[in-house]
Amino acid sequence: MNKISSFDETNDMTDSKITARNVQVYYGDTHAIKDVSINIKPQAVTAFIGPSGCGKSTFLRTINRMNDTIDICRVEGKILIDDEDIYDPKVDPVQLRAKVGMVFQKPNPFPKSIYDNVAYGPRIHGLARNKSELDEIIESSLQKAGLWAEVKDRLHAPGTGLSGGQQQRLCIARAIAVSPEVILMDEPCSALDPIATAKVEELIDELRENYTIVIVTHSMQQAARVSQRTAFFHLGVLVEEGLTQDIFTSPRDKRTEDYITGRFG
């Protein structure tokens, strides 16, 4: 009696944009992330799922070193992006964050115009030499974020005046304006209605071609919809990582199974 396993066992180092090796994160005395190793594929969406407080957001934030802003947070282990250790003392987190963009849970446009929101990143990184170059960057970013048609006539209206879903897409446009390679999304749709969510998900699917996307989500359906690979975190441990269809139909680990079927929260 042979079992056919549909699992691909090909997740090796050779095709990996982000490689984490034995990452530990401590908040003061709390050991928040325990020995996480994972390979994240380029040009694909990887979803992190898990119950609240499982460390998925914390781990996401180690990838662009947003945890540096928290005094008591300490990171051990290695995280490589294109084989460069981002926790190397020579790495400036500001430069890293231009390469690894982030979209947050709550749409958080700056209280400025739509134009200025998108222009901020290119301006501080000196990506545009003149006004017309900047305009170009802004148009293409908004276009990639699927927002251009909706806002092209009111670029100088405040960004905070847009609807929730538009604001979130504006935040995505802002992130891609600095042409990052990786986009991290921390529950980007949790504050949006289903239609706006669908639009953002469609956008994520389109962006996959050019970016490596890591998304944290509380909605398993969303992870199932948008991601190619899924990682399940529980109590700071990476329990299981694999192809999304496998994780959601026949997970290997009982904890994953219990979580996705709604047996513990």
Partner: protein
Amino acid sequence: MTDVTTNPASETPASRKKTSLLTVDALTRKRNAAETRFKAYGVVAISIGVFFLAALLWAILSNGMSAFQQTVVSLNITIDVARLEAAEKSIVKTSKYNAIIDEALIAKMKDAGVETEMSGKDLRKMLSSGAAATIRDDVLANWDAIKARDGQVMQYDVLASSRVDGYLKGRVTREALARDKNLDAAHLDIVDQLVAKGTMVKSFNWDFILGTDASDNRPEQAGIGASMLGSFYMMLVVLFLALPIGVAASIYLEEFAPKNRFTDLIEVNISNLAAVPSIVFGILGLAVFIQFMHLPQSAPIVGGLVLTLMTLPTIIISTRASLKAVPPSIRDAALGIGASKMQATFHHVLPLAMPGILTGTIIGLAQALGETAPLLLIGMVGFIASNYPDGLADGFFSPNSAMPAQIYEWAKRADPAFYERAWGGIIVLLVFLLTMNILAILLRRRFERRW
């Protein structure tokens, strides 16, 4: 409570009685009654507050408004250059001028048809003892113009004495004058006649707002202008020291400083400093700025420094509160696209915190403007404000007073005429505070309306 314990079984949901929503049960009624009572307490509390505020305003306005009017007598003085030159050459110069005033006054009374047997000297009691000095100052200031007008008649408005002024404002009664050696009923008869003729009138008292303090026996000449300048220079010092230092300190503490025991200690100390009595800052200023650093006594620069120390905690606390109120998502957003911490703070956090910072600063300034105690300790007492400062540097470094100290000074003087000025001073001070508060509101509106 009691009905639950007496019959617990009946309270279980299973055996709950069927009730109608149309009848209000006893518990609900009690609850509603308690709510109504509480609302009534609130209304009573507010009413008491409003009553006291109204009483205070009424007291201030009724006592102080009269300070903005002053009784003057217009005298026609014939310019006699030879006589003026002689007066300037004599030893007691003002007494010569007094003689000129006496003549003018008698002439005026004759014109008005007022008969009296009093001598000029006696009549002059109706005028301010500073009247001669006022005319002389004008003569000296415009000596060339005066010389050119030799023989012509010029009209001078001379201040009436504080008692005459008080009589016209109803402060001084004929009965009270019986005990007064300076003035008697005969004077008041003349005053009544002069008023009826329109020679003696009450006019708006610009000197009170713009003038300097005067000595104890000339309350009619005392003004708050010099100490207003003193306050102004102090506020300049406070604004240009406390705002940048306070905002910089707050930004550092809130955004950059590591959170450890040392910064905790600083934080606690700042909060405590805000509660330190202002007189402590006064004695500190005296010890450090005057005795140790040898800065000039009674100077607005020292007052400003002391008030800066006093205002800093207020500004720091309010600035930190408004920085804290900026949602962290804005910082995250900026950091997330690769802004440095400083860019995030100065491009995004600070502009959003600006209305709060400005409000805090203006409230702090207003508080400093009304502060008296520390100023008394560093010598910024009222009677010093009897000269205007010459120029900007002098404004900071020469002795002066401040509005609240001036008010305190007047309030403790014996003559009831000063009492009226103290109230008047309070009105001026309140107008200033009100203006600053309105400014704070306008600034906040303006910055908040940006989006």
